[in-house]
Amino acid sequence: MAVLTEEQTMLRDMAREWADNESPVTAFRKMRDAAPAAFYDAAAWQAQGEMGWAGILVPEARGGAGMGYLSLGLVLEQLGRTLAATPLAATAAATSALILGGSEAQQAEWLPRIAAGDVVAALATDEGPRFAPDKIATIVEGGKLSGTKEFVAEGDSAHLFVVAATDGLYLVSGDEGVTRSPRKLTDSRSHAQIRFDGAPAEKLEGGTDLLTQVTDRAAAALCAEMLGMAEAAFAQTNDYLKTRVQFGQVLASFQALQHRMAKMFTELELMRSVVEGALEAIDSGRANVSQEVSLAKAVSGETLHLVSREMVQLHGGIGMTDEHDAGFTLKRARVLEAMWGNAAWHRERFAQLNGY
């Protein structure tokens, strides 16, 4: 566990308590079954806004808490534990873009509303099903943006889009020239195709480098959610092995299973270190953020994959049923692994950054 300030410890404990009590996995199940058009839990999002979580990254001068990425990660980790379905991670990614590249006027317009939880924002970069920041064809001419973005998280409901075009990032607000088509993925969360057809757009400062900075922050935030998911899946599996009896013994007494749990526990410890390392690298403005993020996303992808697969296998038949929660983790894990670069993509970037 990273060394936390008193403020961060309070934030983490509060988030954990809120997730356990107010947004347990049953709330996610309810949202999935109700399938609202926005594909998130509106009441939970409102509560998060009231608690100030949407403003964790927003500077105090703009109505936020200015606490940084490790703090955001602490909250996302707790939400990952119970699969809380809200647009917090997507909004945070877009917030990063505004903080890093927004003009005085743009920040003044958007950040206070984001901090208050009144705005759902989304980062729209990819134009295909795989993360490919070098393949962007969206263009802006005379302040009008045109292009098609695929699988935009929270795209179904976003009020503000941060859109990658050939020459940098742009803000698109409102629905003029914007067409949304829902894409139902296996995790039952919001991922929409967004077509921009001459949508009024305002440029952010920072050119194409800004895209790398922002997607790195988006990936680091997802890693925190993945850490929470892996942690919860592991704990639930461990509990199950201690109660399920076969051949007159609890499964937890079989050495073959004990060793598998021990291996997973080991991997989880490594995962926690790299995820916290990436978040801290961002907060302290280190030069090697991309490298730390690639390390974190590659390890997180592999570890969550291992833990979610083992969760199903070790639960046996019950883990295969929709009635059980194991499937939720398995499905969401795969989606998060694919977002903002999967393990293979990040291993390759890590190799390039290190001159291999």
């Binding site: 139902k184 296996t186 079989f254 050495q255 038949g317 795969r334 694919a338 293979a344």
Partner: protein, 406 residues
Amino acid sequence: MATAPEIDAPTDPLEGFRAHAREWLGAHFPPSLKGKDNAMSAVEGPHENSSEEDAWQAAMGEKGWGVPTWPKEYGGGGLSRAEARVLQEEMARIGAWNPIGGMGVMMFGPTLLEYGSEEQKREHIPAIAKGTVRWCQGYSEPGAGSDLASLQCFAEDRGDHYVVNGQKTWTSGGQWADKCFMLVRTDKTKKHEGITFVLCDMDTPGVEVKPIRLISGSSPFCETFFTDVKVPKANRVGQEGEGWTIGKRLLQHERSSLSGGGSTAGRMFSGAPLGQLAKKYVGVDEQGRIADADLRGRIVRHDMDMRAFMLTLRRASLEAKSNQGPSAATSIMKNVGARIMQERSELLIEIRGLAGLGWEGEGFEADALKDVRSWLFGKAVSIYGGSSEIQNNVIAKRILGMLDHQ
């Protein structure tokens, strides 16, 4: 000195049968059904057959070739194993497939032929051979999965019949089955020796079926509840308390069909080659290779694993045919097959990125949606029919002679 006809006689003793099979198949298999085999049909619900499908099933049922090696007197084909292989080859040659299958063919029939009474065989085998009666398996219970012998579903002796109370789970195709072969407890004081094998009509009052929704969506699996269900003693197979022996024999048939002869394995790995799909979704580098070197390496490793598996299947089958007895390699088949199938599913999803994780609705290719459901459903392969952990225990204890352990 040999006479002329003897010298000209075919050297292959099966040539006559091959000619007969070829002629018969040519006359009865409708070419329009070529390649329309459905691997899932055995556990899927009844659907409207075309008149051609009906005719094909009727012809094969009449001929007994759906169950080619079963005795003719009960409606089987009465063929030798060698003849059955020739039939298989001739069917494959013209894209024909066996319209008769399911649990009755794979598991129950062979077991009943071995352990059933004459009356039971005459009653049940011909209908299985014709594919007119669907069977389901009442084995697993919520508290009896890997440890099947701890089952609790109880059959109380009432003279000429039993009264069954309890619950079964993972009843494949239970909602469409006509009959159920099941293991029940007739003695609570003994574990293995207290189990009896009985047959139950699914429309008996007190039998209730509830389909189980899986992580992949709706499924052929059910929970089956028995409340004061009357089962005539005439429906008992073997003696009371003999059920574990009979039931285990049936599981051997199940395992050999799950671990797959070549045809199951062939189906498992059907679909677009991973390499082609990766080139489409990931692109190629300047030398025409899959652009993502890491993914390329993993696809190659998978491909090599799969080839090693197929060669092992072939070796085991050749060793078995040459009467060297079952190869030790057959014990690893289920685990290797499950692992490779699951890895393939994972790769299929990874290659397509988020387009490979669609659940339903617009924006996805039909193949991709199918592969997502197979990926999720495929997680069961290492759990059912003896989980990978159980198979490893069997290998360690029975083959490697290692000690019983915790």
